[in-house]
Structure formats: structure tokens, C-alpha cells
Amino acid sequence: MSEVRTRTIIVANRQGLHLRPAYALAELAKRFRSRIRLVKEDREANVSSLLDVMTLGAACGARLSLVAEGDDAELAIEALAALLEKDFDAPEGP
């Protein structure tokens, strides 16, 4: 049964949603059937499209809405929110 799930997330990546995090999001979104989008103020991006995500210019600390629509919306939201709240550009281990 199709559902809609929404969650507010704060971008944790120190350099914002540039190419590498946008790519990781798109790859992760492929695992789900739901249609997933990110909303920043009046702009919307389909997370499956790198170009779309990069048009948001979402910097570290940006507040976005993550919206998933489909029968696995809950799982999709959990997975993508976790990714968005991760700092990709943190230096690797010691």
C-alpha cells in the first residue's frame, strides 16, 4: 500500500550536497521503490537525479524536507535520512 513519509533533516556534510553525497543518495534511492524527493524552501529535487539534487545548493546546516512516496516509504526515509545526517567529508580514521 502506498504511503507518504516526510522528515525534516539538517544536512550534516561539512561541504554540503555536492557531487559525491548527491551520487551516494541517488545510488541508495535505487534500492527503494518509493519516489523520493528533497525539498528546500520552494525548490524540489528528485533524489535519483544528480543534477536535480545539486540545483538545491544545500550547504552544511541546510534544513530540508525528505519526502518518500510508495509502499516502502518508511524504509526509504530511514535510510536516506541516515545518509544525509552523515558527514561524508569528515577525514578518514586516525
Binding site: G16, H18, L19, R20, L50, L51, M54, T55, A59
Partner: protein
């Protein structure tokens, strides 16, 4: 951030001569050196740094577009080069297609905002198919410059 804010105009190349990835990057870095943005002895290290980033994952984002990039300790602000390859170059792109439009970005070490804003602008403009098509068919650096100016004036996005 408009194209005028970061594209080095003398470094625009309307017809890349090379037919492979590293060649394309080298031509664009050379163009920036010739335009006075970098010293000649920095060319090699910049090409290497851009290629190293490519190893993490191709910057060929699909639709015939690539955004190769790196950071550099001696730039104080983002500088970019734009180039077109009429035949297209195999860039190991995400959609498997050859790349015709290249935006090379060299950023300061600690100003991630500039890079992000440039990507934002590039993405927004290139989502417009007409802009993409016109750029791919550009015959001269002057043509490309005109198109970037038109984009900055809001003609396409």
C-alpha cells in the same frame, strides 16, 4: 554564483582536440595556465589532483556533462574553465554516454561554499535542454561566452 563570477573567459575552449579523459583535463588546465590563472609548473600537479578525484568516482554526471574538479592551495577564489568536445569523450560517465560539455572547477582549500554554489548554478542552467544543446553545438569560444552570459541573464533557467 553566476558563470561570470568563476569562469575564466580566456580559458574557454570550443573544440577540445583530445579524445580521452586525461587529455581533456590536461587541455583545460593548460588553458587556465595560458590565461595566467596558474603557473606553468603547477599544471602537472593540478592535472594529477583532478585525475585522483576521478578515481573516487567519475564526474561525468550524465547527459553529456562532466564537472571535473579539485582544490588547490594557491587559489583564493574558485576558478573555472569551460570546454566543448564535438565528438564527445569517454569519461566513464554514470549513464555510459560520452561527454561533450566540461566544467573544470578549481577551488580554494577551505571555501566549500564556492564550489557548491558553482555546482548549483551549473546544474540549474544545464537542466535546460536548450542551453545544453546550444552549448554542445557552439562553434567558438565567443559563442560559449555569449551563451554563458545569456544564462546569467536568466534566459534559460
Amino acid at each position: 554564483m553566476k558563470f561570470a563570477d568563476f569562469v575564466c573567459r580566456p580559458a574557454i575552449r570550443a573544440q577540445l582536440l583530445t579524445d580521452h579523459k586525461e587529455g581533456a583535463i590536461r587541455e583545460m588546465v593548460k588553458a587556465l595556465v595560458e590565461a595566467g590563472e596558474f603557473a606553468r609548473d603547477e599544471e602537472e600537479s593540478i592535472v594529477k589532483a583532478v585525475m585522483k578525484r576521478e578515481e573516487l568516482g567519475s564526474t561525468g554526471i550524465g547527459r553529456g556533462i562532466a564537472v571535473p574538479h579539485t582544490k588547490h592551495p594557491r587559489v583564493s577564489r574558485l576558478v573555472g574553465a569551460v570546454a566543448v568536445s564535438n565528438d564527445g569523450i569517454d569519461f566513464n560517465s554514470l549513464d555510459g554516454e560520452k561527454v561533450q560539455l566540461f566544467f573544470l572547477l578549481v577551488s580554494p582549500l577551505d571555501l566549500p561554499g564556492d564550489h557548491l554554489r558553482a555546482l548549483e548554478n551549473i546544474s540549474r542552467q544545464l537542466r535546460n535542454d536548450t542551453f545544453c544543446r546550444f552549448l554542445k553545438n557552439a562553434k567558438s569560444a565567443a559563442d560559449i561566452q555569449q551563451l554563458l552570459d545569456d544564462a546569467d541573464r536568466g534566459q534559460f533557467a
